[in-house]
């Protein structure tokens, strides 16, 4: 439609434009044709005028001269000439030439006598042909003052000119010529009356092309009018017209006409532009009419087009809306039901079927009651219809039933539809299944409940981090009210404790993994900084874009505190608050590492309180604890802040002196000073709860630098040094040296081997003979020997202490006793050996065994020998521990018939009171006294005293370590009764011993 309008308008416009152009063109042609007509008309008029005037001239010439006579009266002729001239302004003068060509009579007296040659006048003719001929142009007013114009001597157009005309007459039989000066202005004036120079102009040419007159001022008179002449084609036609191009876009409409009597041509130009002037004006007028008319047509068409377009658009819009409505109706997710006034369904949409499960044929014409679930009571429906009746609208929720009987929640709105006149037409119900929405609402309520009641703070922020909501727990923890934080950035909670990197990691986790979990220090509103355990999750929309961040956090201050407490317990001693062994090890380790870099020496002081156990046993553990606390304080005061004082447990402390000096010598001096300071400090009296107490430490020191030793070995080394200090008499300081370590290691190795020594029968019992004053063997001392498969013979001095410390001594002792008893039983079998006694060493631990006496008794039951031949050798140490117990056991042993000897007498606390209390049979003078008995007076006195004392208490005395005769002599002299030593025999295996017995017997 719109296209048609455009086409029609365009066609009309094109037709109009075409018509206009065509009409203009036709008018143009007509104007040109008209121009030519005008030009031709003028030409005809000019030619007529010129020919007629020339004819008048000819007649005047003929009539002025009487032709009958040979001798005309010149005066009369002249008078005639003057008379004629008055009536003919085209002639300026008339003259008469005689046969010689000399003017003999003239209207102008000035001409008389002039000789005029007329031979070149046209048409060319003989001198006696009575015709009129036309000469070429002369310059001047008349012959008297003129000259002939030639191409060599042309004249300006402004100059006055005349055209000579000769008429030959016959007077009698003589030819004469009447010469006329033709006034060109006369012709010119005629032309100028007809043609305005603006319009065009005219020319007169002689038949030879000479320009005789020209209305154009710029023309050169008398020249051959070449330009025009070539166009004329006078040989073919007498008249014609053509268009002449003047150059410069100018054209003339030229027409020409030859005189019908004389050899001249009249030419007229009409300027083409002049000819077209009228046409131009007409075209202008035409355009002034046509253009507004066309514009009006365009305008009207445009308006019409617009109206049509608008109408089309409106129609399209209406159709679009209708389509849209239909689409909405059909594609709506809400069920739409349209009923008639009786409430019967007339139209339902697809969603209706989807929701209710019914199909098209099943519902149309039915009442929507088919959906009724029966869950709503009568009142519900009454209220609904009342609302519809009153306001035309109802909205609410109800439970409906699907075709399959399933219930669903529906949100229903009912409105009435009226026609244009307001008459009720339909009821329209729109229902949506909100079952899932209901469920979602429940979930939402639950979520909201969780949100508001959670113990954990919850913060919800948008993607920029702006806080959108927080829960109550948040407010409780942070101290901020909800309004104070919403719209803020969680930065307000920042404690400033975390660096940029911390948050960068957090964000990276959030963006890459979608969550971040960890501890963070935040700040409450009151400025308190507290730890949080925080989980931040990024919540994404269905496109995976992060839309929210949800941060859950709890205040873990208490947990942190508990952790610190645990840490304390793990690393610190509860009683003294000093670092414990574990922390100490860490510190030693780090000290080693830093020493390794700085090449400085550090030191470990291992302290053990002397006789602490006694304090605990006597005064109670609480007093012991007080002492330990005091010790800890004193230790701390003795060392630098950077040093570590640790409690290893019990009464053991370790001081770590870090970074002392780079020189080992300087370090050991400095450390010695500190150790001494510690020793002195700890040796000062302690004020305990109830009493003052004296204590002292034994201190072992080890220096270290770098990582050459492990932490454990360093501690062990210090420990060893401490033991050395203890061995050195306590309350002293000892430095660790490598030999000490070697000994310890050897001892450890031996201990390990010793465990298997009995079972592997590496232990052997050796026998050293004991003799009487007569050098007769009276028995032997059983000495255990360890023949180590690698080390060979191991001295008892080496392994017995090991056994004592490791309780192997019990097993060892049992084996010795058993072996000794078996030997005694063997000896009892022979008369020669039946009287021999065998002395067996019993260690303190062994003796302390509750069943020691029973063990002996059992042995006596197993091995048949005289109990008196078994002699148990006890050291003073055995006695010292618990005198009453020892005494009881000793009596029990005595009751079995066993003999008891006190070994190493004189070396310890040997006290006379013991000798009195203990049921001893013998005392044994220690070999240390015997060795120097002959050289040392003190030993001499000692031995004498011991023997005297023994005699006083009626005890046998035996000396051991007798190696020389002088020693024997001295002892014998002083009343000793028995002897043992290399002088009589080394400890030897049983075979050798028996050999020895046999030889001595013999």
């Amino acid at each position: 439609m719109q296209k048609h309008i455009i086409w029609a308008t365009s066609l009309f416009l094109a037709a109009m434009a075409g018509l206009t152009v065509y009409a203009s063109w036709r008018l143009h042609d007509s104007a040109i044709a008209n121009g030519f007509e005008i030009s031709e008309m003028h030409t005809r008029s000019f030619e007529d005028f010129l020919t007629q005037n020339l004819r008048i001239i000819e007649l005047a010439a003929i009539n002025s001269v009487p032709q009958e006579t040979d001798k005309p009266n010149l005066k009369e002729i002249e008078a005639t000439f003057v008379k004629v001239l008055r009536q003919t302004p085209i002639m300026r003068s008339m003259s008469l030439l005689d046969e010689r060509g000399v003017i003999v009579a003239s209207s102008n007296p000035g001409n008389i006598g002039l000789s005029i040659v007329t031979d070149s006048y046209l048409p060319a003719a003989g001198p006696d042909q009575p015709i009129m001929r036309i000469g070429s142009l002369w310059l001047g007013r008349d012959f008297s003052d003129g000259r002939e114009i030639s191409p060599q001597h042309p004249a300006d157009a402004s100059e006055q000119t005349f055209i000579p005309i000769a008429r030959t007459l016959m007077t009698g039989n003589r030819p004469v010529v009447v010469l006329v000066a033709l006034n060109p202005d006369y012709v010119m004036n005629f032309m100028l009356q007809k043609i305005n120079p603006i319009e065009g102009g005219g020319e007169v040419l002689r038949y030879d092309g000479t320009l005789l007159l020209d209305s154009d001022v710029s023309s050169v008179m008398g020249l051959l009018g070449k330009g025009i002449w070539d166009d004329l084609k006078l040989s073919e036609v007498e008249s014609g017209s053509y268009e002449k191009d003047l150059g410069g876009g100018k054209k003339d409409l030229v027409s020409f006409r030859a005189s019908r009597l004389y050899p001249v041509v009249v030419v007229t130009h009409i300027h083409r532009e002049y000819a077209l002037q009228r046409w131009m004006a007409e075209v202008k007028t035409l355009l002034m009419v046509v253009i507004p008319a066309l514009l009006t047509v365009i305008l009207i068409s445009f308006l019409y087009y617009r109206r049509q377009s608008l109408a089309l658009r409106q129609k399209a819009e209406i159709e679009r809306i209708q389509r849209m409505n239909a689409t909405v109706f059909e594609s709506s997710t809400e069920a739409i039901m349209i009923t008639d006034l009786d409430g019967n369904l007339v139209s339902v949409n697809a969603a209706f079927f989807r929701i209710t499960g019914y199909e098209a044929g099943e519902v149309l014409g039915k009442n929507p009651k088919i959906l009724s679930s029966g869950k709503q009571d009568r009142a519900f429906y009454q209220k609904m219809w009342a609302s519809i009746a009153q306001s035309g609208f109802w909205q609410g929720e109800l439970i409906n039933r699907r075709k399959d009987g399933a219930y669903y929640d529906a949100a229903l709105s009912i409105s009435v539809s009226r026609d244009g006149g307001g008459t009720l037409q339909h009821y329209v119900g729109v229902a949506s299944d909100i079952t899932s929405r209901k469920a979602a609402e429940k979930r939402l309520k639950l979520s909201a409940s969780v949100f508001s009641h959670a113990n954990e703070a919850i913060l919800i922020a948008d993607v920029d981090g702006t806080i959108l909501d927080v829960n109550e727990a948040f407010c409780n923890i942070t101290g901020y009210a909800r309004d104070e934080v919403i719209g803020k950035n969680p930065r307000i909670l920042g404690s400033g404790r975390h660096d940029r990197e911390f948050y960068a990691i957090m964000w990276r986790n959030l963006i890459e993994k979608g969550f971040h979990y960890g501890e963070i220090w935040n700040k409450r509103k009151n400025g308190e900084i507290y730890p949080e355990m925080q989980t931040i999750s990024a919540v994404r929309d269905e496109h995976g874009n992060i839309v929210h961040y949800v941060s859950l956090f709890s205040d873990i201050t208490e947990r942190k505190n508990a952790e610190d407490e645990i840490r304390n317990l793990a690393f610190y001693d509860v009683l003294t608050q000093l670092p414990n062994r574990r922390l100490l090890m860490e510190r030693i380790n780090s000290a080693r590492l830093s020493n390794a870099r700085s090449h400085h020496y550090g030191a470990l002081l291992f302290l053990d309180l002397d006789k602490f156990k006694v304090l605990n046993d006597t005064l109670g553990h609480d007093q012991g604890d007080l002492l330990l606390i005091e010790v800890a304080q004193r230790l701390r005061s003795c060392v630098r802040e950077m040093d570590t004082v640790a409690r290893m447990g019990g009464d053991e402390f370790v001081v770590l002196l870090d970074d002392v000096d780079e020189s080992p010598d300087v370090t050991s001096r400095k450390v010695a000073l500190i150790a001494e300071k510690v020793r002195v400090s700890l040796s000062a009296p302690y004020q305990l709860k109830h009493a003052s107490y004296m204590s002292s430490p034994s201190i072992g020191v080890v220096l270290f630098c770098g990582e050459s030793e492990t932490v454990e070995s360093l501690i062990k080394q210090a420990d060893m040094a401490m033991y050395k200090a203890k061995d050195s008499g306590r309350n002293t300081v000892r430095f660790f040296d490598p030999e000490m370590q070697l000994a310890v290691e050897t001892r450890a190795s031996l201990e390990a081997d010793l465990r298997h020594a009995i079972s592997k029968q590496q232990l052997h019992l050796y026998y050293q003979v004991q003799v009487d004053n007569e050098r007769r063997p009276i028995g032997a001392e059983a000495l255990v020997r360890w023949i180590h498969p690698v080390r060979g013979m191991v001295s008892p001095g080496q392994f017995i202490p090991i056994a004592e410390e490791s309780s192997l001594i019990i097993e060892l002792g049992d084996w010795v006793l058993k072996t000794a008893c078996r030997q005694l039983a063997t000896w009892a079998g022979a008369d020669s050996s039946r009287t021999l006694t065998l002395a067996v060493n019993v260690s303190a631990q062994q003796f302390k065994q509750d069943d020691f006496v029973i063990k002996i008794e059992r042995l006596l039951g197993v091995y048949r020998f005289s109990p008196a031949s078994l002699k148990l050798e006890l050291t003073e140490g055995v006695v010292l521990n618990s005198v009453s117990e020892v005494v009881g056991k000793m009596h029990a042993l005595k009751a079995l018939g066993i003999q008891i000897s006190l070994d190493d007498f004189g070396t310890g606390y040997s006290s006379l009171s013991y000798l009195k209390i203990l049921p001893l049979d013998q005392i044994k003078i220690d070999q240390s006294f015997v060795r120097d008995i002959t050289t040392d007076p003190n030993d001499e006195v000692m031995v004498k005293t011991i023997i005297d004392m023994a005699q006083n208490f009626r005890l046998n005395v035996i000396a051991e370590g007798v190696e020389t005769e002088s020693q024997l002599a001295f002892l014998k002299q002083n009343g000793c009764m028995a002897y043992q030593g290399y002088l009589f025999g080394k400890p030897v295996a049983i075979e050798q011993f028996e050999n020895l017995l046999n030889s001595s017997l013999s």
Binding site: Q160, D185, N189, V217
Partner: protein, 265 residues
């Protein structure tokens, strides 16, 4: 204003001359009344003044009108007597007419012989040439070597041009329309005439072109002339002139003949 002063001076001059010629007893006034006609000399070639249309032979012009008015005033008929400027003095003094009424320019020569009424018109001199004449474009082109200036014999132009032309040749003609013939045929370049003649001539002849003087060339007052020595006649004529000026007859006629620009009030 200057024109008017000049005219008045000339007028007073003629009056003193006329009073000398007094002596005749019988006034022409009486004779005219007796004869019941007044003879008025006119120049029938004088466009707008006293022109006889050759096709109808009817007279027209301001002075034809005024002559008729004079006849009316005097109660006599008017008899027009053909004259010309060449024959003017002779015709008036030889009693061929009672009065010459054809806008006669008051020249000293004429004033010696004739008695002039106060002037009713005044005109400068104008030149007529052909449209095709390319040499004469403006006034100053006229007085050039080779130019031919034609004047009618006896007209006031003859003495004026004789006196004033320096280079051009003056052609004095005495046949009717000779000036026009000479110019049209190219034998003369221009002819000299006055305002009334030129105006009328241009209307009738397409080939003619007017060349006006730049500024004032030579203004001549025009009046009626009578034979001197007859005071009664002169006074009557003088009164007539005064009457026609006063009662508007002169003005009305001048307007009719498009001469109002040169009326002397």
């Amino acid at each position: 204003m200057r024109i008017l002063a000049f005219v008045l001076m000339l007028a007073t001059g003629t009056m003193s001359l006329n009073s000398i010629a007094e002596g005749r007893t019988e006034s022409r006034l009486e004779r005219v009344k007796e004869a019941e006609r007044v003879r008025v000399c006119i120049w029938p070639d004088y466009y707008s003044i006293t022109y006889r249309n050759p096709k109808t032979l009817k007279l027209s012009g301001i002075d034809i009108d005024m002559a008729n008015e004079l006849g009316n005033d005097l109660g006599v008929s008017v008899q027009f007597v053909d004259s010309s400027f060449g024959k003017l003095i002779e015709d008036v003094t030889q009693d061929r007419c009672d009065i010459a009424m054809f806008a006669i320019g008051i020249t000293p020569l004429r004033a010696q012989k004739l008695r002039f009424t106060p002037p009713h018109l005044a005109s400068d001199i104008f030149a007529i040439t052909t449209k095709s004449n390319r040499r004469i474009k403006v006034w100053s082109d006229i007085d050039m070597r080779g130019s031919v200036v034609a004047v009618a014999k006896g007209t006031l132009h003859e003495p004026v041009m004789k006196e004033r032309l320096k280079a051009a040749q003056l052609l004095v003609l005495d046949t009717p329309f000779a000036r026009e013939q000479e110019v049209e045929s190219g034998r003369a370049d221009v002819f000299m005439t006055d305002y009334p003649y030129s105006q009328r001539f241009l209307v009738n002849n397409d080939w003619a072109r007017l060349v006006s003087p730049t500024g004032i060339y030579h203004v001549t007052p025009y009046a009626y002339a009578v034979m001197p020595g007859d005071d009664a006649w002169f006074n009557r004529i003088e009164r007539f002139v005064s009457d026609i000026k006063r009662d508007g007859r002169l003005w009305a006629s001048a307007k009719k003949h498009k001469l109002d620009p040169i009326v002397v009030k």
